[in-house]
Symmetry: C2
Subunit: 298 residues, 2 copies
């Protein structure tokens, strides 16, 4: 008996990602309501309410975060570099206009001062209105928020930060320059001695060459660099990765300087990150480890 | 400017998963050609060729494996239990009709004899014809393949196996009984002293209660039990999990008895599993660790 295959079967009110970066496979969410959809000076900003993933922020047709799993991303990009630094007092966040990364960075007990530079004021505005669980990050008294370009900002801030976190969209569209040599040079010059950077860096299942390219760019500027990843179901392939670069020659990436106890986890309301997860984040599948060993500098 | 949102935009020739187990979000693949699609006595069996994921096996509308990422699943479900056993000479595989698990189990240097029981002969036939990279597992001289029911088979095989691996589809449809008490009792009785079982067990992002239920069922029969996971992009949420139960009270789940060197990895053509990945597979995100601590037996 030949059965009729359910092809092209997506029902009404589903939003499907469509991006040249991951052709041939795509994720879709069932939308309850479109809360906002406008073109800003930089990108198309959309906020959905969905049936199973809560509120969802979409930029230029690509899911940036969902209420269900955003914490895995925000906690990882914040605490991986922060906990590797001996005393991360002053932190710069580039991008992160939804507020989620600031929310996590502000929780770290050693962080005293956070500067954030976001180019698109509209994202902040939309987040404050529709995504309060993220925008709560803007309420921290530790935070100073600047609207502007991360490049320009760093040209005027040298030797100033312990940690720089780049929470960007993918290397297509407005964020493409954040994945290039010049940007990593600027970050290096904006760091204090022994400073650490952490940038979103694609996933190994989608584009291993992209990952090795970004890691090589990072290695050109930083004596120590590594790739780590977190499980985030609504990103393509269910993961997101980070490059971490350090000016501290003695750094051991899978050994956090700051170890969180279970009490710390509760107090900080951590839902994904732990000191054990930190170690595991650097353990790469064999095909990735072999590829990076072959295709990135020593 | 109000932009027109790209809703309901899935193009022609895309196959979309549709399953009651994960409503509200779904993965789609672009199909080049439908190679096979028939109803067997047990399920609808489909094989696609796709633009980016190679050959894909679909049972009852759910992706079972794709050529691109199947190795992460097969290596994990095979080597997590095998490497935890001091001497895994005799192994039973229940299900696994595509041959992928047998392919990996046969590689383990200590394994001498593999029995496999698959209920649906058609899956084996289809795999041999369309999925040779998986069906190559049936060619091992270590393997004896039986067509039949795993329950009946284990009733007639007591105290016989070092390791039992259950490579089933999800707990809807024909595989539902493989997630119940009786099945875990039967596995226990089919094991030799210090035996170990490993079963597919859902993912924490989709249904944490399902995971804690299966773990509790496992804990009822086995003095030691744990949950581990692997990154498999084409499964819902990009992960798949396993419950592992052991009759050996001294087992330490994140310390493999058999440690593979880089030479072993190359010789065995491992692409995902390593002894470091083994340890990391048991490190659970904070929300999962907290949930399982609260909702499963000591």
């Amino acid at each position: 008996m030949k059965k009729q295959l359910k092809m092209n079967s997506l029902k009404k009110n589903w939003f499907t990602e469509d991006c040249e970066m991951w052709p041939g496979g795509t994720f879709s969410v069932e939308v309850k309501e479109v809360l906002y959809s406008e073109q800003s000076d930089y990108q198309e900003i959309t906020v959905f309410d969905t049936t199973k993933f809560g509120k969802v922020l979409v930029l230029d047709g690509i899911i940036q975060c969902t209420e269900k799993d955003e914490f895995a991303y925000q906690e990882s990009i914040a605490f991986l570099p922060l906990c590797l630094h001996k005393n991360p007092e002053k932190v710069l966040i580039v991008g992160g206009g939804d507020g989620g990364v600031a929310r996590e960075v502000a929780k770290h007990p050693q962080v005293k001062e956070i500067l954030q530079v976001e180019i698109d004021e509209k994202v902040i505005e939309v987040s404050k209105k529709y995504l309060p669980f993220l925008a709560v990050g803007f309420e921290s008294p530790k935070l100073k928020l600047h609207i502007g370009d991360g490049f320009e900002f760093m040209l005027n801030h040298k030797n100033e930060f312990d940690v720089i976190i780049t929470d960007s969209s993918d290397p297509v569209g407005p964020a493409v320059s954040l994945f290039r040599d010049h940007y990593f040079q600027l970050m290096k010059s904006a760091l204090k001695p022994n400073g650490i950077i952490c940038s979103q860096a694609g996933t190994v299942w989608n584009d291993l060459d992209l990952v090795s390219n970004i890691l090589n760019i990072c290695k050109k500027q930083f004596p120590k660099a590594a790739y780590a990843y977190a499980s985030v179901p609504t990103y393509p392939s269910g993961q997101i990765g980070f490059v971490i670069g350090s000016l501290d020659n003695d750094i051991v990436f899978d050994k956090p300087e700051r170890v969180f106890t279970e009490e710390d986890e509760k107090e900080m309301k951590l839902r994904y990150y732990s000191s054990e997860i930190h170690k595991a984040a650097f353990v790469l599948p064999t095909f990735v480890r072999q590829h990076l060993a072959k295709n990135t500098a020593e």
